[in-house]
Structures are given as C-alpha cells and as structure tokens.
Subunit: 434 residues, 2 copies
C-alpha cells in the first residue's frame, strides 16, 4: 500500500480555539499512522507542506453527482415547473455516456474543492460506480427507488437497488460502499420503505432518504398517513441508526427528538434549500441538543449549483445565526465539524479528523492565500476556513492514503478531457430534447 | 496610456439568456474602445483569452478594507459584545502600519477574487488611499464620521473628512475618488448628517452611510426622532441621488418607495448581515419595483469574513428566493447586475459592463474550471458564475485599462510580502492588547 509523509504542515483542527500548529503526518495503509514533529520515515510520497494548511477532507453527504451535467440548464424556476418541465424530461434522455460524463465532472469539481467522500443517490449506478472508481474518491452509492404505490414497480426498483448494492459490495473497492436509497416518504410506498430498510439491515448499509425538504411534502405525508414524516417513518419501523436523511428542514421539536432517540442522522443542504426556496432553515440548535448527528451536503449541481462544501459549511452557520437572531448560537468549529467528521461518522467511518488510526482522507490549503490570513497563533483558523475559505484554496488531496491531487494537479483524471466530454454530452442531450 | 487587446474571450453578459459567445475586446485610454471578432490593433498588452471567460469586474460597494487585519480575531459573538469587547479595543490600537497592512491584504484578496472597484469607509484614510493607490484598484474612499451629538467632536470629524476628501480629489489619481461618510443616523447628530451632506453636494461626492442594518437601530432612531431611519433622513434633507446606503435590511415599503423616489441607492451586504445575525433579509423585490438602485458589498472582513463578491451575489439571490418562498423572484442575471453594473452606476461610473465607452474594468475566469461547466451555447452563464463560480476561478484583472493580474500573478503587489506584513502587524496588535 501507498505511504505518504506530509512534512511541516500547519494543522489547526486539534485545538479547540483553532490556533494553528506545525506538524508532520504519516499515512500508511490508507490510515493516519503517526502525527508529530520531525517524523522520519521512508514513504513513497513525501509532501512538503510548508506554506500549506492540513485539514480533514470534506464529506459531501448528499448529492446526485451525474446531475452536474445539467448545471446551468435551468434555474430560477418554481420547484414544480423546474422538475416537471425541465429536469425530469432531461433526465429521461440521459444515456450512459451522459451519466458517466456528469459524474466525472462532479468528482473533478469535488476533488478540486476539497471533498474526499460523497454520498450519492441516482440511477444507472453501475456507471456512477465506474466513474467514481476512476476518480479515486471515497463514496457511498445508492440507487434511488421510487414506486408511487405501484407493486410491480416496487419489485423492479428493489431488484435494481439490491443488485447494485450487492455488486458494489462484491467489487471490494476499499473506497466505495453502497446504500439502500428509497427516494422519500411521499414517493415510496410503506412496503418499499420497509423492504429496503430490511435489506439495508441485512447488508449492513446506510439507509439514504430525502426527508422533510418542503412544506408540501410534510402536508402530503400528514394527509396520507395522519402522521408527520419522521413520526410516520418511525411508526413503520424504518427510523434507525443507519438512516441518513437529506434536508430535514420542516420538522417539529418532537420529530427532532425522535431522530435523536433513534440515532438517525440529518444531512443538511442549505444551498439547495435556499435556491429552490424551500422557505425554512433546519432546526440545528434543537438537533444539537437532541444529539442528532448532523452532516452537510450540496445536493445536485442542478439545484445548488456548486458542489463546494466550503459553501455548505458557511451557509449553515450563517443561516442559523440569522434565523435565530443570535450570532453565537453556532460556531465555525461546529460548522466545520458537520462538514468533515460529522459526515464520516454518519456513515460509520472513522474519518474527517486528524488522528492516529483515522482514514487518511486529507486536504491541503494554500496558507498564503490572502483570504485565509492573518494566520498566526492568535488566529481562529476554524473561522478563517469556514467564513473566508473557498474552493480555490485547495491545493492537494489525499484519499484513502493515496494522492489524488498534488499542487493543483489531479492525478486520477484528465481534467480537460472530463470537461470536454461533459460539454459534448450536454450538447447532445440538449439537441435530443429539441 | 496603456492599451490592451483581449483576443478570443468567451463573453456572456451581452445576452439576456447568458449564452456565451466569442469576442475580442480592445481597451484604450482606460475604456473599452472596440468589441468584435478578429480585431487587429497594436496594443501594449495582448491577452490570449481563449479558454477564458471575460466579464465585468465586481464592484464591492461597502467595505472597511483595513479590517481585514482583524479577520479571525473574534467570531461567533453577539454584535454588542463583538464590537464593545473586541473590535473597538483592537481598532483603538491599530497604528499606521496596521491600517496599511490590513488595507493591502484586502486589496490583494479583492483583486484575486475579481473585484475591480470598492467603496470604503474607515479612519486614517490617507493611509488607505496610499495602500489603494499601490494596489491599482479603483476605489471611493471616505472618512467615517461619528459625533454622538458632541458639537466639538462634530467639527473635528467634519474637518478630518473634508480635508481627506479634498486631498483625495487634488491627488488626481484617475482611479480614486472620495466620499463624505457620516457613519449612521444613530451615531451622527442631525447637524453632522446635514453638514456632511452639504459638503458632499458642494464637492459632488457620494454620501456613504450605514442605514437600517439592525432592528435595534430602527427602534432607537424611531424613539429619538419619532421617525423611521429613511423618513428621518428625508425629513432633514439628506436623502438624495448621491446617497449610497449600506445594509437597508429593516425597511418598510414606504421607506423603500421613498428611497426610489429620491434616487438613493441601497448597498446590500448579505454575508455580514447573516453572520452578525441581523435577522432579516432586505426587501429586494420591493426595491426593484420602486426602482431603487441596488448594489452589493461584503462589509469588512471582521464581520463576513470573505471579501468575495461571488459570495455576495449568490447570497442575495438565494436569500430572497428562500425568504419569499419563490425561486423565480430574482434571477442570476439580476444578482450579477447588482454585483457589477449596479455598483458602478450607484457611484456615477460608466462601468460594470462590456460596452464601448465603458470603463475597462474587466476580469477573466478560467472557462475550463469544472464548476463553471457545462458551458455551451445552451448554458446560462449568468447562473454558472453566480451560483457555481468562486474566487478561485479568477485568472486576470484589468482595472482602468491596465493589467493588475495576469494568469494569476498580481503585477501591482508583492503577494508574499503583503501576507507577511499583515501577519506581523496582527501579531503586534494582539500582543499590544495583552
């Protein structure tokens, strides 16, 4: 296995006040094996990180990578029109090459912006798996199931999802796992939700679902089941520790407490919620109080439209402060935790932190970038990164102990080719739509 | 005067739907002199912009540049504690070198992130002027006056502000103008507001003021004067075309209409308002309906903490959509207009657009950046730039027809030295605070 010695990096996530300190970090067998100063070791790669900041990579816990192909295709529309008139017709025409090109474009953007792990829900997941494997990223991939109450469709969807999950597991790629991913409580029957939950338990996989994103969804579920979404999912037995629920915007305190009690995780997607005008701000202080595991996602690039987790971390901190008229209700350190360790923990991974034994999913930032300075012993680097950092500050990425980007150069993908293919596939798709 | 020929750029701001097209642009005597294809001209600089996107530079219409020195010094605090316990004591200790170092750090970050013009309010403005002149940026600089009702203080403040404005004018730097900048209706007496307004009329300068940022301010002004802030300023005769009012968050419809009627401009600072938990979202749809000129700012780096105008443009679009539960209420093109032409127009400058005769304040972005693609004829590039662009995409900057950054290299400042000086001054400042 690859070994990497990172010398003279500035690290800050170890200190509660975010003050930076110099350290060397050794990565062996995909994990951090040593942290200290003056580490001497034979390593395949030696990275001189003087002038760079070392931090855990970001975990983008909810996205639809292939939808990066549709970035800029339609924006500023009402959710219903956007979906029905533009997104669904385009998705129906997305062929294999389009799915792969979109996914590759997404992985390129994610690596460049410091994301080391992502959790995806889409269709044609064998192609998403291939593109992800090529990129060198860590990921959890799930086929998004929808049956709208149709029993025949249900069996078909479950079949596809199970087949993909099993093939992903048997591929034994150390970086890629699968999820069971029923789309949502309003697009999936009770049976689909329950059967996919049973498979997730059997195969020990995360249960990835959209939950309480819009008010309409809450009212529809309430009308249909007599219960609010979280209470409904609990009543049918699928609310548990392996649930990673995307959005969680419109929730009562009772639902938040229920999620905390059952160990379900909330994946917040502030950029997407704002752009689609969901209208709310997730109840983060209540989630923290109820010990709901919180992580962040960008959602797909058709709805955000950026996959930068710098944005997600800053948005959630600022939105909650503003919504609660309280600037101290959430700190930069907490927001950064949601964007890194919170994500890894939600998927049962020991990562998102710089610690012996943790996964070697690490990024380096340019410590001399104007926007990240001052950066002295008296600086809170949590604040610099969350409130002033941007995707352009990322210089290096290490995933699973392997270098994926060094000094801005991606080692796993041909950048120009990825962008060119995406443009070609996009043009083909648009002309097929007439 | 310098002439620049930009060849084969991708431009998009000319088209209502944001679709990109190829063009050459010639800049002479500080202005755009020709736009077309296959332009042949002798020019001092020739920029090959194939693979790059050309757009107007951003106008950051409200900032306190020197405060970049305090970035990361204190965050996540309540506004009153943040100001009284941390910011004011630190500012009181900021010497000449600190002011210059902070301003230089800000200009470096602004150039890197595509800002070509900024409007500043601070103290020791002769030093801010010097640092700004070194950077090659276009700016409007004003000494921030506060008298808290003290007549002696008022005369002193007016004296400093007038002296600076006159010296800035007589310096005849083609890029730098001055403003009269009374801090706010709650920190300035009626006399100070009126006298500084008269000077602004006499010297033909913008009247830069903080206005309706917090609910507390609105209630305090209401209690003190019996009128809401905009109505109060109108009643004392200072609400006019040359007013550029920062924040404008807490306003009634009547106040918005009054601003529109009198021609006052609103400078929105969404990042700062959110982070300081002002609690509101500015009434942008009403401002548009009342034809209030809208532009954007970042505010100072102690309160945002980024000076990236990409963030400001995305924030304002997303916040308004979410606040009004309507994704189509504001478009990417409108948000980009606020961030570029809206800013230039607010200061009476023919800029922020690509048009013959307009100021040659232009930037180039890396058209191959993953986050800005797809970028074909069917792409809305307004959306790509506003919703997916980031500071790291900027490669070149031309200000007043002169190259300030080429291929990521700043020509006017020594980047490493600017960052080093900022860190040294920050350390000195912190140790002086004990």
């Amino acid at each position: 296995m690859t070994s990497i010695l990172i010398k003279n990096a500035t690290i800050f996530t170890q200190n509660a006040n975010g003050s930076p300190a110099k350290a060397d970090v050794l990565c062996e067998n995909g994990r951090i094996s040593k942290i200290g100063t003056g580490i001497l070791a034979k390593a395949e790669y030696k990275i001189d990180a003087s002038g760079k900041i070392l931090m855990p990579g970001f975990a983008n816990c909810h996205t639809h990578a292939a939808m990066s192909l549709l970035r800029g295709y339609c924006d500023d529309m009402k959710l219903e029109d956007w979906l029905a008139k533009k997104i669904w017709p385009a998705e129906a025409k997305m062929g294999k090459d389009a799915i792969k090109a979109g996914t590759k474009l997404a992985t390129l953007e994610m690596i460049k912006s410091g994301t080391t792990f992502f959790n995806d829900m889409y269709f044609q997941m064998d192609l998403v798996f291939e593109a992800t494997a090529d990129s060198g990223m860590r990921a959890c991939l799930g086929y998004g199931m929808i049956d709208l109450g149709d029993a025949a469709k249900r069996e078909k969807e479950l079949g596809i999802a199970r087949k993909f999950a099993k093939s992903a597991i048997s591929a034994k790629n150390p970086l890629i796992t699968a999820s069971m991913a029923p789309h949502s409580p309003y697009t999936c029957s009770k049976e689909l939700l329950q059967e996919s939950f049973m498979t997730s338990q059997e195969l020990k996989l995360p249960y990835h679902i959209h939950l309480s994103e819009t008010r309409k969804e809450v009212f529809d579920v309430l009308k249909q089941t007599g219960k609010r979404p979280v209470e409904y999912l609990d009543s049918i037995g699928v609310l548990g520790k392996n649930m990673v629920a995307a959005h969680c915007v419109w929730m009562t305190l009772r639902e938040v407490e229920l999620m905390g009690k059952k160990g379900a995780k909330a994946i917040l997607n502030p950029g997407s919620n704002l752009k689609l005008a969901s209208g709310g701000v997730p109840p983060v202080p209540e989630m923290m109080k109820s010990k709901v595991g919180i992580c962040l996602g960008t959602d797909g690039a058709a709805s955000n439209n950026s996959l930068s987790m710098f944005e997600a971390a800053k948005y959630i901190a600022l939105l909650v402060k503003n919504a609660r008229w309280n600037a101290s209700i959430i700190t930069a350190q907490e927001a950064l935790g949601f964007a890194t360790s919170g994500g890894y923990e939600a998927f049962g991974l020991n990562g998102g932190r710089i610690a012996k034994g943790a996964l070697a999913d690490l990024i380096l930032l340019d410590a001399k970038a104007a926007n990240l300075n001052p950066a002295t012993a008296a600086t809170n680097m949590h604040a610099q990164v969350v409130y002033a950092g941007h995707a352009g500050n990322v210089t290096d990425s290490i995933i699973g102990g392997k270098p994926v980007m060094l000094d801005g150069k991606i080692l796993t993908l041909n950048e120009d080719k990825v962008v060119e293919q995406a443009n070609n596939e996009y043009e083909r798709l648009i002309s097929s739509l007439g």
